[in-house]
Symmetry: C2
Subunit: 410 residues, 2 copies
């Protein structure tokens, strides 16, 4: 029997996917599983857009241009103009989800062995795309005690080597929900200009910034047009994860030319998804406002519920729909597994993502979990009930230390 490749055996698996078979087992036993482990929202995809999409006459579902349909790219130009970001449609390449944009960026801008600096915890699949592109992901550690804000800019500067090609961040952040301050972004902009490297920002959660947090796009930073690359997607914004429509945006024409070469190889991004996305961009302000308010309520709920759980350490996330939390357990993966295998409260349990897989530095995040608040408030409360009860009966629970008690009372 011919053997598979060695490299395929070392692809890092998503931490939010690997417990899925165990969750499936729990469901087979009749247990309801509240999924707070994956960023799949329960929000409706814009109904009006679906209606228009389904009414569109369609005769031949042809390839779109490799870079995406021009009318959709032009509509995206208008979308970015809402943020006072000036672009031409040639600056936007439509991709198969944000995922493909990440891979294309790594291939187009990095050679094997080159490095990107990424604040950890980070979206774990960056590891996997880095693995395909054969590049190195260099982490810079953020800390739960300050809500995972970025460390001082000097720490970034200190990690830059001759192989560093980019600083790569997610803003607002998945998995931490941190929304980076404009001043922080400006510092990063200054640094990448000085070091002549790229600043690649995954901004797929752009629309979800809460309270006093201000979102600043990297595309708005002055004087680094040639350094800035933005990853985008309709998945989260319009609750249309299955559309598989993303984008890579940059004013650097060498980069768009390089990306185009990869785009041409795979012929075109999804055609139906692009058609739907064009409609989703129309009259979307009320929809986006509503969704944002909904997530903000959920965020507050999760924060308050976690805060009331003794021994649990968390913070108020500024954006996206995730937060990290430290659990009073030795091993969060064991705990997450136990939740699915051995725990039940009112016929249900909750699924979380173990934190460790979001870190590149070994040993970090071992007592942390990521919580995606993608369920409606009733379900969210039921899920938090499960977590609260579970923590009170979990055999592997750590005794609360003085520090834990202090944390619980903040």
């Amino acid at each position: 029997m011919p053997s598979i490749s060695h490299r395929s055996t070392t692809v890092p698996l998503s931490p939010f996917r690997k417990l899925i078979p165990i969750a499936d087992e729990a469901k087979k036993k009749g247990r309801h599983v509240y999924h707070l482990n994956i960023g799949q929202p329960d929000i409706l995809t814009p109904p009006k857009a679906i209606e228009r999409f389904q009414a569109e006459p369609l005769k031949i579902l042809a390839y779109s241009p490799a870079e995406g349909h021009q009318n959709y790219r032009e509509a995206l130009v208008d979308y970015y103009a809402r943020y006072d970001i000036g672009l031409g449609y040639e600056d936007i390449i439509v991709t198969t989800g944000g995922s493909e944009a990440i891979l294309f960026f790594l291939l187009a801008c990095l050679d094997p062995g080159d490095e990107i600096i990424v604040p950890e915890p980070f979206y774990a699949n960056y590891n996997g795309f880095g693995h395909i592109a054969d590049i190195r992901v260099i982490p810079i550690t953020c800390n739960i005690k300050d809500g995972f804000a970025l460390p001082p800019i000097e720490e970034f500067a200190a990690k830059i080597t001759p192989r560093t090609k980019a600083i790569f961040i997610t803003n607002p952040n998945n998995p931490t929900g941190c929304c980076y301050a404009p001043a922080t972004l400006q510092q990063l902009g200054k640094l990448v200009k000085e070091k002549d490297i790229f600043l690649c920002v995954d901004e797929v959660y752009r629309e979800f910034c809460y309270g006093e947090n201000t979102f600043l796009s990297a595309l708005s930073l002055p004087e680094i047009d040639d350094h800035t690359v933005v990853i985008d997607s309709v998945s989260k914004r319009y609750s249309a994860c299955g559309a598989r429509v993303g984008a890579l945006v940059t004013r650097n024409q060498d980069v768009t030319a390089a990306i185009s070469r990869y785009a041409k190889l795979r012929l075109s991004p999804p055609g139906l998804g692009q058609m739907l996305s064009l409609y989703m961009l129309q009259d979307d302000q009320a929809y986006l406002n509503g969704v944002k308010e909904e997530y903000e309520r959920r965020r507050n709920t999760v924060f308050q519920r976690l805060r009331a759980m003794p021994g649990v350490d968390s913070y108020l996330p500024g954006g996206a729909f995730y937060c990290f939390a430290r659990m009073p357990v030795d091993d969060a993966e064991d705990f997450c597994r136990w939740l699915l295998e051995d725990f039940e409260h009112k016929g249900a349990t909750v699924m979380l993502s173990p934190g460790q897989g979001f870190y590149a530095t070994p040993g970090l995040g071992k007592d942390e979990v990521r919580i995606a608040y993608v369920l409606n408030e009733d379900d969210l409360h039921a899920a938090m009930d499960c977590l609260e009860v579970a923590l009170s009966v979990y055999p592997g629970r750590k005794e609360a230390s003085t520090t834990d008690l202090q944390r619980a009372s903040y």
Copy 2:
């Protein structure tokens, strides 16, 4: 300004795409361009399937499982059963077009520096995917004089090295239209078993085999279940290139497990495309028969027209919707460019793909073109009129040699 990667500057460009800007210029001048350069058919996507798809209630366009929706995978099991191919749904991984299946196969089964043996001319993007996966494409040359049938099996055996991981063929073939004889496939099956390597067959044109040609799927070859990987796609079969729905099929569970790792990274294949594809599989026999008859008529038209052109050398292709032809010119790329830049017949011209880009061996295919008969018969005749007139006035035309005259009279 930060520099792009070295590797991105060496991605091989598709030969059927690189003349597109020149074609766009021709159109701007008001000239109609008959596109015989790309496999984008003018056939309707199944209207009933579109109707059902557009009537389907859709609330949340969620991620599908990474390996594709189970109901669609099960429908594909039934589809293969029509060919007496027995599969379980776990043997089928839904991909973003056949393109992604090709890349996933190379990543899952080959390590950097490993080799695949591919008969040339071949689908040029195999080069590009090989480039991303950092593997070597080893060509084995086929010849227009025997309609690009595969060379004797000994020639394959002679190319196998310790780094060879697969023989990779397209059947029916793009760009040659050759439909490989069952006996040829059986020989390949014997060889891959003996050498313990994979046989990967791109069968996206499976439904289009004409006249006395018999299609035999690699999945029907006995005793090489662990060696066989099939690439598939709805693009050509249902004239739904924009759906971006393909599949990778294998009974080798190590391979499906490895492919799954890559599939999980990019989260899911397109959701809308999968929905449409499920409907396209329903009651499709009349549609498929009609499309096949249409292509067979077109094939005959192209063959007869080319045959009547002095100095042109071609053959009757057995399948798919392509043929290769040798032109009485020194450089087919110059000729194709001239057709777009300097030629016009009744306000129109024709776009062909220069042959050289389909070969890996330098110098081959220089006087050849690929013709995709994707237009209706009226347009096809008009396009052939353009070609015929063009050849009679082309300044770079070669004087007909005795051999050419013999060829033209076959």
